[in-house]
Amino acid sequence: MADLAENFADIAPPLTPDYALLEANKCLFCYDAPCTIACPTHIDVPAFIKKIATGNLRGSARVILEANPFGHSCARACPVEVLCEGACVLNGRDEQPIKIALLQRHATDYVLERKLKLFHVGKATGKKVAVVGAGPAGLACARDLRRWGHAVTVFEAKPQPGGLNTYGIAEYKLKADVALAEVQDILDLGVELKLGVTVDSLEPLLEKYDAVFVGVGLGKTKRLGIPGEDLDGVVDALTFIEHLKTHPYHETRVGKRVLVIGAGNTAIDAVTQAKRLGAEQSTIVYRRGEDDMPCYDYEYELAKRDGCSFRFHAAPKRVLGNGRVEGLEVETAQGHETIPCDMIIVAIGQGPRTDLAWPKDDPRVFVGGDCANGGAEIVNAAAEGVRAAKRIHDMLAVGGGNGR
């Protein structure tokens, strides 16, 4: 058990105070900083880092969370290599970029651990907004709406809020308790949360509320569309990861020889976590080549470091087995081949939501997050939620005399 806990320990442990001070002082404090431009929520990165350097951690966290209500989880799960850190000017001096994510974690951990309340509820406006989906988009939207005094009710189908932050981020990046603590901070602003409620139509909500924000994420993992995919031992990646994140580690079943079909970032999350759970072999099976993999380069590197294997140019044709999965037949340039396995994880992306429709032209309906952008990062969802909150606020203020 100890080993499993170690396998799922933070992949990027927090900075010590001394390291944080050293790193913060390395920041050049650029003007019109490329890191800030690169961040979808445009966190004023040099400003928050400067505040760490001066010992103003509370102020630092305020700068981060003002721009991004999910600053805690983004510090752990953001693809910073292609965002802020990738844009750091120190790359241009052929140096390592500033450790922006870890500094962001240093500041946000400080307020989360101390339960410091940085934001406050605005004066009640009498306006009511419904938010469908308690993921990063919906809750980011809810946070700012509460700050401006609007009543917010969030409807969530799952038993816990947080969306993929709680259920879907690789365990070694972000644990559910941290995700839930971050969510609680937002709920503490007086957000009404209705869990276990599936919304299948917006009409009743539009009757009762002044505006509706839809942040319901994507639908289920797509099906392979090949024979045998319903055999026992074939599981979709999100179900696999959700089980891992909501149960003691030893309760998630993993095969000895695991195949993960797909090569996106979720596929990497699945193949690495299967390996970390104890799979002897954990292998990506991908129909195209190494250079075509949609995952980030550093995620590919992580999977290689974890000892995962890769089969490129191998298109799945049939799942073999007698009741339970025993192998995967793939088509390669050399012909058909069977790869023996005892577990297959399907990670070929999620389809759109088919269980809820929302009008595209109703000025009182706003959309954000994966269901609007087709599937992106936490930071994109947070950015869209924050932007939607502003648009909702502007709309509600019309005739209401509640301009900022």
């Binding site: 001394d18 001070l21 050293l22 913060a24 002082n25 050049l28 404090f29 650029c30 003007y31 019109d32 900083a33 490329p34 431009i37 350097a53 000017v89 120190l90 241009g92 001096r93």
Partner: protein, 436 residues
């Protein structure tokens, strides 16, 4: 290889690096270890009637994550019996005959007291005496240290008393806590001093604890102003050394002190006239071992430049320390940005725009090309952009040719010389409105 051997006012040492009087020179054990490490000399921690020290004695100023950019202390002179100190000085001299050993002295301002301590000190075989007229804290409240060094007449008087009995060179250590250090230097010369050393520490309060509101170093919640030193004071020391070295009435050697931490610092002090160099804070930070690079770096630099001895370097920068009114008003510079080196941090832009002459233009980042460019007609060649730029050699200051002869302010107001056309100034009304 360059020769570092030093003769300072008749005191010889294998190299110019002496430990300054202070905590590192309190005992035989320390000084012997320092000589073994390579130090050329040591000024013993000030000897006088033993004092009682407080607990918590040092405070410091960090710069970002760098420790001890500035340092201060409220420690007094030696707390050891005079006899113990003198015995150990004699022992060091016996065991390290080629090294310079100088006794720093401070006693009450009475002729007999000074005569007695000087005679006792000479019996040890010490190479010289340094009169501590500089400590700004504690001892000054008792009429010693900087209380003497701040009054030219007192300085002169005590030097005269010392010289009545001294048979070895007498160095007078000057305090920077005066309006014009040259007056004190002249008084020491008048009293018969053989050499000067400067600077002693600067009056300071290094910080206040924002929890307890106690200044540092805190002695049970209270503190006293202390002597400031370390890298932060080097520029002040360089100026005061140069001021004394340039004074026509000061003809005796000068030992440079104040923030020397590297061979570069040392070379700069020598270039401004120092004959020997004293180091304390850097040793308190990193230990005696730093002398290795002090010597190695200095020798490598001298060899590269073809200087065979310190005498070749000494005072070489002094003629270049001029009065402002002598500077050439026709020497014009223009900042140049090497766009291939630019990393697009825009620090030059924000510094120039808000802090200087608004002579840099921003260009849109999404063009993919340069993001900053110099507005040549507005640049006054002030250096600020080059100083803030984090990339070596990216921004350079290049001379702008004009065919006019050098013309100083002195020439100009005397009606001599002609001024070259100058850059537009940000504060002219036309310029300001043209930026709209």
């Amino acid at each position: 290889m360059a020769d570092l051997r030093t003769d300072f006012a008749g005191i010889s040492s294998p190299n110019p690096f002496w430990l300054a009087s202070g905590p590192p020179t309190n005992t035989y054990g320390q000084v012997a270890k320092a000589f073994d490490a390579g130090w050329g000399g040591a000024v013993w921690k000030t000897i006088g009637d033993p004092i009682i020290n407080v607990f918590s004695r040092y405070g410091s100023v960090d710069l970002g994550a760098t420790r001890m950019m500035g340092f201060n202390n409220i420690e007094l002179i030696s707390d050891r019996p005079i006899a113990d100190n003198l015995k150990e000085i004699a022992e060091v001299k016996r065991n390290y005959p080629k090294h310079a050993i100088i006794a720093s002295l401070m006693v009450e301002s009475k002729r007999e007291a000074w005569h007695a301590i000087v005679k006792q000190t000479q019996d040890t075989g010490a190479d010289g005496i340094e009169l501590n007229f500089g400590c700004p804290h504690g001892m000054s409240e008792r009429g010693m240290g900087s209380a003497v060094g701040q009054v030219p007449d007192y300085t002169c008087q005590i030097v005269e008393w010392v010289k009545e009995v001294a048979t070895i060179p007498v160095i007078v250590k000057l305090t920077p806590n005066v309006t014009d250090v040259t007056y004190i230097a002249r008084a020491a010369v008048q009293g018969g001093a053989d050499a000067l050393s400067l600077i002693n520490t600067i009056n300071s309060i290094v910080s206040v604890d924002l929890g307890s509101f106690a200044p540092a170093p805190s002695v049970g919640g209270k503190s006293s102003h202390g002597g400031y030193c370390g890298p932060a004071v080097k520029p002040i020391a360089l100026h005061l050394v140069s001021a004394v070295a340039k004074d026509p009435q000061v003809t005796i050697p000068i030992s440079g002190i104040g923030g020397i931490s590297t061979w570069r610092d040392a070379a700069e002090f020598v270039a401004l006239g120092a004959g020997s160099l004293q180091v304390c804070t850097a040793v308190m930070h990193y230990g005696f071992r730093i002398v290795e690079d002090l010597m190695d770096g200095l020798v490598n630099w001298m060899d590269e430049r073809g200087h065979s001895s310190l005498a070749d370097v000494r005072g070489r920068a002094l003629p270049n320390v001029a009065k402002w009114e002598e500077l050439d008003l026709n020497y014009h510079l223009l900042a140049r940005i090497d766009q291939d080196k630019c990393i697009k941090c825009e620090l030059c832009w924000t510094a120039c725009e808000d802090g200087a002459h608004q002579a840099i233009r921003r260009l849109p980042r999404d063009n993919g090309g340069p993001v900053v460019e110099i507005i040549e007609e507005a640049c006054v060649g002030c250096n600020l952009c080059a100083l803030v730029c984090p990339v070596q050699g990216c921004i350079t200051m290049e001379p702008v040719r004009n065919n006019l002869p050098p013309t100083s302010w002195k020439d100009y107001i005397a009606g001599k010389g002609k001024l070259a056309a100058r850059s537009a100034q940000f504060h002219t009304a036309d310029w300001a409105s043209s930026r709209k």
